[in-house]
Subunit: 230 residues, 2 copies
């Protein structure tokens, strides 16, 4: 897509609204990830662990401004744009409040990984400028090593932990899917965008099915890196 | 002080221990400021306010790594170095848990301002390399405007708030002094450092008195910028 067709597609009101929705959903997701990680940091068994998680929290938060500015560039108020996504994301976090340090780690790793995979899939359908913003906002925090290391060590020293965390991973996936469906059902512009337009490729039902297969596969890979069945 | 006398003074075990103590106290202070601000962000009345406070939290946290590396350069483990200061700082925060959004804002502004003033006073007695690290770690988050604006608006719309927050400011100052004295009494190296050495200037009792006067004056200035009596 060239810069001029970029401007063209952005003039289309429905596309612009869908992009604003998408950026706002990601931004509010990063804000609630910050909240959740700052909260999880308190569960850390050592000060070094606490710092690692606080660093992840700030890493998520650092992306918010980039998304905010792009929403403003598109002529919308970032806070108004985020409002429709608060209920679904807050509810996701309420329904998946970690009961201990390990559940927090698994949630950070599995939840953020899943969200990043999903937004990366969608990014393929965006104008280049927005795509760059989305991709930049998903940059890995580089803390995966830390989580994998801690979770594997935890399982090694407590055999029952693996079973509990495997169930936890499945619950996270289920809750993410149900809140995702809720958002898709409520946000017409976003749903229409995913379906594509006359002059813009979109995802038909078969393509959406394939996308979910890819997301599930990558979720399974992440779980197994943690030493967990999915 | 030249780089060579720097090396000289750092070879002095007592000085090095005092510097490690100081850096560790600042570092743990920033970590607990992060915790506290991340917690306060939840009390924010709007999403924009929440973001402003989360940004302050991450700003504080961003300084920790710089301090950690300097502690490592001086041959100590940062986490072991921070341990002796946890009780005093945790207790300060327990005794001054904000009961609402405004108390959180005043605490962030007045508490961080006071700590920064104190460490800046001490920095004058440090070797240049350590002084640079300390000064950099105290860089203003640039959010003072935000706090002043919100607190003044709050007082304007609720006359009783000013009186309550003025009392709160006095309590913060009192609690900071009592925890500060506790640290000074427990950390011999730090206390000896403040007193100076044969070939190094220090603070005699009169100088310490003058320093406290300056700290109190600046505290009063901050309170009056917030529209509060101190």
């Amino acid at each position: 897509m060239t810069e001029s067709s970029d401007a063209g597609v952005l003039e289309e009101a429905a596309y612009r609204q869908a992009v604003i929705d998408l950026l706002a959903a990601i931004a509010y997701g990063e804000i609630s990830a910050f909240d959740r990680l700052a909260e999880d940091a308190k569960l850390a068994p050592t000060l070094a662990d606490k710092l690692a998680v606080a660093k992840m929290a700030c890493h998520e938060f650092a992306h918010v401004e980039l998304l905010q500015s792009r929403i403003e560039e598109l002529g919308a108020d970032p806070f108004e744009a985020m409002a429709p996504f608060q209920a679904a994301l807050d509810q996701f976090h309420e329904h998946t409040a970690p009961s201990d340090w390990y559940e927090g780690l698994v949630k950070a790793y599995v939840g953020d990984g899943l969200a990043a995979d999903f937004y990366r899939e969608i990014a393929a359908y965006l104008d280049p400028r927005t795509r760059d913003v989305v991709i930049a906002s998903l940059a890995d925090s580089g803390h995966s090593e830390f989580v994998v290391d801690r979770v594997r060590a935890g399982i090694a020293s407590d055999a029952r932990l693996g079973g509990r965390l495997a169930l936890w991973g499945r619950r996270l996936m289920g809750e993410a899917l149900s809140q995702g469906q809720r958002v898709a059902a409520e946000r017409d512009a976003l749903a229409a965008f995913l379906a594509g337009g006359v002059d813009r490729p979109g995802l038909d039902l078969a393509a959406i099915g394939r996308m979910f297969n890819r997301l599930t596969e990558r979720h399974t890979e992440r779980m197994s890196r943690l030493g967990l069945d999915s």
